[in-house]
Amino acid sequence: MENNFLLNDELLWDYADGLLDPVQHQLITTYLEQNQAWKVRLDAIVLEQQRLGALPLEKPNAGFADRVMAAWALEQRVQKAMPAAPDWILRLIPVVFAILILLPLVGLLGGGVQQNIPLRNLPFELPALPIDAFHNFGASPVLFYGVLFVLVFLTLRIFEQFLQLRLQYGKR
């Protein structure tokens, strides 16, 4: 049989490592049965593989396991000593976050409702929202972007605090 599929050391290594697909594997098995020289080469590769696999493991210095356990015990002690965040903080942060985002939205929607749909028969009087003030607010770009910037900054800051607290205490 001709070596018409370019059998080489790399292919033999892959064969010995079991990395070839079944068709290639079968092709090489058949070829090796008829070519003693390549069979000898395969045996040498298998021997090298066995040597690699039989290398003794390195050992850490004596007492390594004890040092790991001591470090682990210390870490657990520190973790236990850390005071847990009170629940009310964890609950308050998303509430404040929601209020900051939702309140202006509700205010704007409420303003829209008051402007377009007359609600005359309510048993109480709706407070008049400063719609004009909103218009003026939008008219001044410095004021508008200034307030927007402060709001975004505050929101992100609170969100960051929330994430930090979740990371620190959330898994308890």
């Binding site: 050992k59 210095n61 396991a65 682990w72």
Partner: protein
């Protein structure tokens, strides 16, 4: 009643037998329920594997101790997140790989270079020779260890994981974050480089043991 020394020996043997027969999964369950002895058994079971792998990556014993210890601590910290989808050893080796890379990046940001020949190289200490090993075997192992120590981080890692730790290519992909094609290519290249190092630097020794 047995004399104390015999009793101690029996207890030690019993403990060793128990440690050897308990599966990783049982040890993890015990560790998660708060038993410190289970953590200790996991360390003892894997310390040589973790240390050897760390040494292959960072190339010197001092750093390897640090990486191995950090790896165990990280593994314990995230043990509740271990879902058993992969073998515990695969999960642990992935932690070792990540910890070693972080360690190397701290020291040298360009450490991922595959052809980095300038990295510090410390030939691993063979420790006390095992009585069962012949002198020839020791020499051969030493040459192989030294040749592997000459390889890059990725090459040494993939050779160690595949041949010494008998991890499948799938598991190696999981540990080193590679695709299957990439892992095959890297393994092939690592073998070629190892052969080249052995031929160039250890030709005399190889002739003797072939």
């Amino acid at each position: 009643m047995l004399p104390t020394s015999v009793s101690d020996t029996t207890n030690t043997l019993k403990a060793s037998y128990m440690a050897a027969t308990i599966t990783d999964e049982s040890l993890i369950q015990m560790a998660l329920s708060g038993r410190q002895s289970a953590f200790s058994m996991l360390v003892k079971r894997y310390e040589n594997y973790v240390f050897t792998l760390a040494l292959r990556f960072v190339k010197n014993r001092e750093d390897a101790h640090e990486v191995a210890q950090d790896s165990f601590l990280r593994a314990f910290r995230y043990l509740p997140d271990f879902r058993g989808e992969a073998k515990f050893s695969t999960w642990l080796y992935r932690i070792v790989f990540t910890t070693a890379l972080n360690h190397l990046r701290k020291k040298n940001p360009d450490i991922r270079s595959l052809d980095d020949e300038t990295k510090p190289l410390q030939i691993p200490d063979q420790g006390t020779p095992d009585g069962a090993l012949t002198l020839e075997q020791n020499d051969r192992n030493k040459s192989l260890h030294q040749a592997i120590a000459h390889l890059s981080v990725d090459d040494a890692g993939i050779i160690t994981l595949f041949y010494l730790y008998e991890q499948s290519l799938d598991e190696i992909c999981d540990i080193m974050g590679l695709t299957m094609t990439n892992a095959k290519t890297k393994l092939c290249r690592a073998r070629q480089r190892l052969k080249s190092v052995l031929d160039d630097k250890f030709a005399a020794e190889i002739k003797e043991w072939r």
